[in-house]
Structure formats: C-alpha cells, structure tokens
C-alpha cells in the first residue's frame, strides 16, 4: 500500500489551474523528489497535502485513510511533518526552546531533555542552543526547522527546498542528514531545485509542469528525457 496517494487533485485560484488532476503515489521508505520550474504548482501541492489549502476536487489518502477533509494539525497527528520553504522557526525564542516546543507533546521531563540533546547533536547545533533562532545563519535555520519537523517522528517528511541558500558543503550535509533519516525508515518527499541534492538523495523523481505531472522516473531517466530538458533542465543549463 502506498503511504501517500494523491488522486486527481485539482486546485484553482479563479481561472488559474495551479494543480490539475495530479496523481502521485509514494511508497513507504522512499525518498521522492518533486521538481519543476517556478509556478509549476509544487508548493501548492504541499499545501494541499498539509491541509492549508483545500482541493476543488480529488482525494488525498495517507496510509490508506482519506485525509482530504482533515484539519492540518490532525494530519500532523497522523504522521505528516513539514519543513517550509521560508524557514519557519520561532525567531524570538532560543534554539533549545524551538526544539522543546516541537518535542514536548511526545516527551516529558528527563526524557525530553535527552531528546533535545540528541537532536542538537544530530543537527550540529549544540553550541548554538542558547541563541535566538532569529540570529542563526540561513542554513542553520533550515537545519533547526528540519530538526523540529523530524522531532515528531513522522512517517512522511515533506521538505520544501531544504537546501535553498545553502553552500555546496551544507547542501551535501543536508543530503546526508536526509539519507540517515531515510535509513531509519522515514519516507521523504522533497521539493528541490538543486540538482546535486536531487542526484544525491532521490530514488524517484516527479516533474511537475503547469500543475500537471509531466514526467516520473529515476534521476537518470529524467535527465535523459529531452522533453524535461526543454522545460526545466534546459533553462537551468542555459
């Protein structure tokens, strides 16, 4: 059974079809990358999956359950989690408190402390724990938010441009982070423009174009596809 299944998902704002009959299914345990030019509907698709937008028609199934009508927080309780495109950390609070807020609904007392320490280590943010999250570098903010997202121990992690604004080294470290999470059984769906990252982690790639699924396959198949190159990689190479 697929972990996530989108069936004929439609969303339009006025006359603009942002997603148009999107079908997509994720297998448990895979790292799946969603690529496509700007305005392809990738972030809207995430918002539909998370319940921030509601589809005009179509269904969203998570682990076999129809979650199309569920509120966002209820979807999170089912095992979804997200890192937003613009880092959504709590800027005025310390790094440690950011993690505490994410962890406190599952852990208490000494166990909570231990989890915070473990996550700080995983993210490499031990020495920044007392800093205000707003003072972190862009890359560190991205990691902190990934940390908050994974602290919920989700079955499916949604990453919206996890490496945006990162140096090549930071991008590679993020890729390793994602692979470690995946090795522990987490399914990942990532929107990404950085092809080095996609190459590093993706087991399957879906290309979204004008709100529709344009192509799907392994990274090599996608790169070899001339139609894709025309709409996306062609532009990137130019």
């Amino acid at each position: 059974m697929s972990l996530l299944e989108l069936r004929k998902l439609n969303k339009h704002f006025g006359g603009l079809h942002v997603t148009n009959a999107v079908d997509l299914s994720l297998e448990p345990g895979e790292i799946h990358c969603l690529i496509g030019p700007n305005g392809a509907g990738k972030s809207t698709l995430f918002r539909l999956i998370l319940g921030e937008h509601h589809p005009g028609s179509g269904e969203i199934l998570f682990a076999g359950e129809n979650i199309t009508a569920l509120k966002s927080f209820a979807r999170i309780h089912r095992g979804l989690s997200v890192k937003f495109q613009v880092p959504g950390v709590f800027k005025g609070l310390s790094v440690r408190q950011n993690l505490e807020i994410a962890l406190q609904s599952h852990h208490r007392g000494a166990e909570l402390e231990a989890e915070i320490v473990r996550l700080l280590g995983f993210l490499g943010l031990e020495s920044e724990q007392a800093q205000r999250a707003g003072n972190l570098s862009h890359g560190q903010k991205q990691w902190l938010e990934i940390g908050m997202a994974i602290s919920l121990k989700p079955r499916l992690l949604l990453l919206d441009e996890p490496t945006a604004g990162m140096s090549p080294e930071e991008t590679h470290m993020t890729g390793e982070m994602v692979q470690r999470l995946n090795a522990d059984g987490m399914t990942v769906l990532a929107i990404e423009h950085d092809m080095a990252f996609v190459r590093q982690v993706a087991q399957r790639v879906t290309v979204l174009h004008l709100g529709q699924v344009f192509a799907q396959g392994s990274i090599d198949e996608i790169v070899a596809d001339e139609r894709v190159a025309a709409i996306y990689l062609g532009q990137a190479h130019a």
Binding site: F84, F90, K91
Partner: protein, 354 residues
C-alpha cells in the same frame, strides 16, 4: 509531592524575566514593603493604592493575550464592564449576607469568562487574526458601552438593580467576608488592600508558572509563527481561545474589584479611553513579560494620577506621547528594556569579577 516541586520550578523559565536568589530576594523585599506599607500610611492613601492594584489584573490580561499570545485585544474593558455590572446586579439583588459578595465575585468573573468563550470561539475558530482581532474586540466593547449608555430609563433593570445609563450603577455592597459575630467588610482601605495584594501575588505567581509550562511554550510559539505551531500538531485555535478566556477572567477580576472598591460602575468604563489606556500601560512597561507589565502599569498609573491634578486632558495627551516615545525608543517596553540592560550589566560585572 514531585508534581508540587516541578510546579515551583516553573516559577522561573525562558518566558519570564527574573530568576535566581537575587530576583526572589528582591521580590521578598518588595512584598514585605507591600505588606508593611499600610501601617505607615493613612486610609485614604491606602485606598488609592488599592485603586492602582485593581488595574494591574486587566494589564496582566493584555500581557497574556497580546504580549505572550500575539493577539491584540482592544476589548479587555468589555470583560471588565461585564464583570463589574455582573457584580452590581448580583449583589444589589441578593445583598451581602452569608458571604454572598464573594460568590458574586466569582460568578461575575465567570460570566465575563463565559462571554469570552462565545466571542473567542467565533473569532479564533473563524480564523480572525492580526488587526481584525483588534477591530472586532474594540467594536464589541464600544457596542456594550453604547448599549449600557441608553439604559437610563426605569424600564432597564435586572431584578431590583437599575442599570441607570450614563449615571452608572451604584450602592452595591463592598466585598464582605463572613465571620462569626461580625462580618468583615472590605472597605476601600486596609481591609481591601490586603485582599487585593494577596490576589495580585497569587495571580502573578500563577501566571509565571503557566507561562513557563508547556502551555506557555505553545502560546509564545503561536505568537512567533502560528503556521509552524499548527504544523507541529497543535490546534492553535484551542490554545488561543483558552488564553483569551483566561485573559477575560483577569480583566473581570479588575472589573469586580473596581466596582467593589468604588461601589460604582458606569458605561464609560467600557468606552474608547478606557479601552486604550491598558494598552498604553502594558506597551510602556513591556508587554511580553509579567513583571515588566506589573511594574510598568503601577508606575504609569501613578504618573497619570499625579498629572491629572493639572487637568485630565493633559494627562491623556501625555499618555499618547508616552506611547509614541515607547514605540520609538524601546518597542519592547521601557521597564523590560531597563531590566534587560540591568541583567546584562550584572552579567558583565560578575564576568569581570570572575
């Protein structure tokens, strides 16, 4: 027992300024001065101090909803008024015997809280946020003021309590504690002073514990980034509603105490000026911290009263200027700014000493 200890540990935390022996020693000294003060003063001055204390609860309500929760409520005076009138109606009908004023005290606050449940439900579950929340809450309090203002006629009464329009409702009994032999009537001097001081210390400490708990964590998380908070699995509407209702109850405490203090309440207590002043006290003190709010409110109130001697309109202009200056110089509040500066200074000194 461990639960009790962990409760006390929550008195300090990231959400409240002030920690360690230095802070709590200062707290104890201030409290001791507060307790001893009526012995060295006259009844009128003590009564006046009670008047200042009465307003601190509504200031704390704004601190909670606006400073910590990030939702600007312009209508805390609505709950102030509802609870004040509620106390008046109840006690004018049922009197003060058998400790009924204390029952009315609690019931009036409960009525205000219930009203907040209804209003808050529609606002937060309707996803009203930001400036619109301010507009809706302000509209509600002004509407209540208008409504109460036109109740001058004799047909407007609840039981034997006349509402009296702009003349206000008066002659309700003060808070009275039943006592064998002679009930203790808390007139607006020493008796009421200790009652209000005790309540203030209790509320202040309880709010410190609440804000440093996991509940408080979620409240500030919603202020910082509501979308992220929801995407961590929190039903933010529920948290906002609960905060709003607690805030309404605090504003209600102010309303009841004010009414019991002066044995008087009028619609103007819900008017535009009344609605705006608490915002200024809280903004000037430092809305995102409980201690700053308490200190700031008391200082601004005292300054306001001192200026009122020269004319209340000038005092109001001064309040406006004070707000503008605060926003320009110390957007987080003057008291909070000063406390943070002192904290940094102390840290630097200890580092140099070490």
């Amino acid at each position: 027992m461990t639960g009790f200890v962990s409760l006390f540990r929550r008195l300090e935390g990231p959400q409240t300024v002030g920690r360690g022996p230095a802070f709590w020693s200062l707290f104890a000294i201030v409290l001791a001065i507060g307790l001893a003060y009526p012995l060295f003063s006259d009844g009128y001055t003590v009564g006046n101090t009670v008047y200042f204390f009465v307003w601190v609860f509504i200031a704390l309500s704004l601190c909670l909803i606006w400073g910590y929760g990030g939702s600007l409520s312009f209508g805390q005076t609505a709950f102030f008024g509802i609870a004040g009138y509620g106390y008046g109606v109840l006690t004018l009908n049922f009197g003060a015997a058998y400790g009924f004023t204390l029952v009315a005290f609690v019931a009036a606050i409960a009525i205000a809280a219930l009203f907040a449940v209804l209003l808050g439900y529609f606002m937060f579950f309707g996803r009203i946020a930001g400036v619109f929340l301010g507009i809706v809450t302000l509209a509600v309090t002004l509407m209540l003021e208008r409504f109460m203002a036109q109740t001058a006629g004799p047909e407007w009464h609840i039981g034997s309590a006349r509402l009296n329009g702009f003349n206000g409702m008066s002659a309700m009994p003060p808070l009275t504690i039943p006592w064998p032999g002679q009930p203790i009537v808390l007139f607006a001097d020493v008796g009421l002073y200790y009652f209000v001081l005790g309540l203030l210390v209790f509320v202040y400490l309880a709010l410190r514990i609440l804000m440093n708990s996991s509940f408080g964590n979620v409240i500030v998380a919603i202020r910082e980034n509501p979308e992220r908070a929801e995407m961590l699995g929190y039903d933010i509407r529920k948290y906002q509603l609960i905060t709003f209702v607690i805030g309404a109850a605090l504003a209600g405490i102010s309303g009841v105490l004010y009414t019991a203090w002066g044995q008087y309440i009028t619609p103007s207590s819900m008017g535009m000026t009344a609605a705006a002043l608490p915002l200024i006290w809280v903004a000037v003190g430092g809305r995102s911290d409980l201690t700053s709010t308490v200190v700031g409110t008391l200082v601004v109130l005292a300054a306001f009263q001192a200026l009122t001697i020269y004319g209340s309109q000038y005092a109001l202009v001064f309040m406006g200027v004070l707000l503008v200056l605060t926003v320009l110089i110390a957007p987080n509040g003057l008291v909070l700014g000063a406390m943070n500066w002192l904290g940094r200074l102390a840290a630097r000194l200890t580092r140099r000493a070490g």
